[in-house]
Symmetry: C2
Subunit: 390 residues, 2 copies
Amino acid sequence: MNAAATGDTAHAMPDDARFGLRRHVTLAGPLRLDGGMLLSPVEIAYETYGTLDPDGSNAVLICHALTGDHYVASEHPVTGKPGWWTRLIGPGLPVDPARHFVICANVLGSCMGSSGPASENPATGQPWGMAFPVITIRDMVRAQAMLLDHLGVARLRAVIGGSMGGMQALSWASTFPDRVAAAVVIASTARHSAQNIAFHEVGRQAIMADPNWRGGAYYGDGAPPTAGLAVARMAAHITYLSEAGLTEKFGRRLQHSPERPNGAKSFGFDADFQVESYLRHQGISFVDRFDANSYLYITRALDYFDLAEEHGGLLANAFRHTTARFAVISFDTDWLYPTSDSRAIVHALNAAGARASFVELSSPFGHDAFLLDAPEMNRVIDGFLRAGER
Amino acid sequence: MNAAATGDTAHAMPDDARFGLRRHVTLAGPLRLDGGMLLSPVEIAYETYGTLDPDGSNAVLICHALTGDHYVASEHPVTGKPGWWTRLIGPGLPVDPARHFVICANVLGSCMGSSGPASENPATGQPWGMAFPVITIRDMVRAQAMLLDHLGVARLRAVIGGSMGGMQALSWASTFPDRVAAAVVIASTARHSAQNIAFHEVGRQAIMADPNWRGGAYYGDGAPPTAGLAVARMAAHITYLSEAGLTEKFGRRLQHSPERPNGAKSFGFDADFQVESYLRHQGISFVDRFDANSYLYITRALDYFDLAEEHGGLLANAFRHTTARFAVISFDTDWLYPTSDSRAIVHALNAAGARASFVELSSPFGHDAFLLDAPEMNRVIDGFLRAGER
C-alpha cells in the first residue's frame, strides 16, 4: 500500500454483484498531466476480482472504452445490467479471477467515481465543470499506475483493452515499459484519424449547442444538457456498428404501433423506422448514466491520442523499450478503427523488435464486436495469456 | 404554356449570372401527394438555360441533391458562389445551353422558392411550418412534371442527377416512362439503407432538440434553430467525404492561431484540429442558406425512398415500362451510396431489359466527387448524351 493514499473504501457488495469488490481511493498525488497542470487529489473508482499472488505476478489490468466504466464484471449500479465484459472475464473464461488478480479502474475524466469534471474541485468545493484540466490517454494511464502503486502491483501480467481501452494498453506498454509483460489491443488504433475527430466534434458541438450546457456549469439544478448528449451518443453509436450489421438488424423495417399495427409510414416525423427508434433509445438511455462534460473531456483525450507524435513522429519509437508481448486484434467490419489501423500498430511493433501477434477476426457487428459474443477473440486471448503463464 | 399557371415571373438577371434565367411559377394544381394530401397551389422556382427546340426535343432536366437548389449554373443569390454544377453545364461542356434546353427546379419541400414548410400556407396566410405535408421523391418528380407541362416540354432528352438528384432521375424514368429518353444516375441509390436513415435521424433529432425549433414555428421572430441545424449539417457532411479524403485534406494537422502560431494543442475545447474548424465552418455557413424545417422534410423524403417498395418489392418492376437509356455512375470511395447500390440499380435495369451502362469511377473525394472536378464523369456523360443525339 502506498503512503500517498488518503482513503480507500471497500463497500460491502450485494450477492448479485458476484465476485466484484467495489472500491474507491483518494490518492494525494499530485499527478502531473500532459497539459502541464498538477492534479491533486486523484480520485479513482475501481473494481478488483480475484487475489493478488504473494509474488504479485498475476495482475491483469482491464482498460475500458469511452463510455465504459470499472463495472467490467459486476452489475452496473445505475442500469442494473451485468458487467460489460462478462463474456471475457469470469470463472473458466480467458481472464479468470481464479488465477488472475483483475483490476479495472474508471478512467480519469469519467463520471463513475474517478476525478473528472463532475467531481469536486478542491479549490472551490464545487464540481470542476470546465475548469477540470484537459487530459490525455497517457494521463489516464499514469493515474492507473498510481492505483497499481497503491495496490502493491509492480508489474502487470497483462493489460487488456478494446477501443479506447486498447489505446491505454498501448500507452501502458510505451509509458511504463518495465511494468507490462503483455498487452492485448483490440479494435483500436495508435492515432485518431481526421474522420474519428470529425465525428467527436459533432458530438461536442451537439452538447455545447444545448442551452442547458451553460459552459459546463449545469450540476446544481438537475437540468443537464441531456438533449445534446443524446444527439452526440446517437451520432457516435452509428460508428460503432457496421452498415451490413444495421441492414441485417433493422433494414428498412417499420415500427409497429397501436395506430399502425402492421407497420406503415406515418407521413410524419415519428420514429417510423425501427432503426430510428433504436437510435433514439440509445440516446435517451445514455443520458441517465453519463455526464455530458465527461463526454467532452474523454472524446478530447481520444482525439489528442497519437502515440507516434509522443515519440518524435515515429510509432516504432513508442515501443523501443518495451519487453512486452503484444496481441493485436481487429474486426473486419470495424470502420471506426479499421484493420489498417491495427496493421500500422503491428508494423511499428515489428520495426521496434517487439513480439507481436496479429489477427483480424470476421464479425458482422462492426466496432462493437469486441463487446459481443466473440468466441474466436476469446480463444486468441486465452492462448495468448496462457503462453505467457507457461 | 399550361392554363393552370397562375403566375410566372422572369426576373432581369445581373450580368454575372451568365446565361441563367431566374424564374418562379405558381401552378394551381392540385398535386396529389403520396401521403394522400392535395397540395395547391404548387410554387416552383427554377432556372433555364438555352432555348427549347421547335420540336421540343432538346430538354435536359437537372435534379439537385438534398441541400442543393436550382442555381445549377447561376450565381447563388445568398452565397454569391457560382452555380453548383458549372463543371458539367456550360458552353462546351457535356450539358451545353447551345444545344440543350436545360431546366433545374428547386425541389418540393425545399426553401429556395418552391413550396415547402417555409412557404405560405394558403389556409392561414402564415408559413406552413410542420403543417406542410410530408413529401416523397416521387412527389418532387410529379411537381417537376407539372413544371414541364407548363414549359411545353413533353419529353426529356435526358434527366440527370447526383445523390438525391439520381433518385429523382430513377423516379422520373419509373413514374413517367414515356417522358424520359435517357437518365443519368450518379452516386445514388434505389433505396435508403438503415445507416443512411440513421445519419438523417441524428440530424433531425439535433434540429428538434434545439429549443429554437419550437415545433417548426420559428419563422416569425428571426430566431431559427441554427445550432441544431449546424450540428445536423456537420454530421451529414462527414458522410459526404471519404475517410482517406479527410486524412489527405486535414489529417491531424493543427490550426494556427495568434496564440499558437506554430499550431499546438490548446488543451482546451477550441478547434485545435483543422478538421474541427472546417466542420464548424460547414455547419455555420449552412444555416445562412438553408431552412431547418426543409432539412427535416427532405431528409424524410430521402429516408422514405425505396423504389422497389413502390413496385411490389421488386426493383426491376420499376423499369418494366421505361424506354429510356440509363447511365449509372458510382465513385469507389463513396460510402454514403456505395458502388454496390449502383450495381443493384444496374442489375434491376438489366432484369427489366432496359438499356443500361455502368461505370465505377475512382476518386479520393467520396460521395461529393460528383460535384467536384471529375473529367472522367464528364466524358462518360458527354458520350452518353451524344450517343442519344446521333
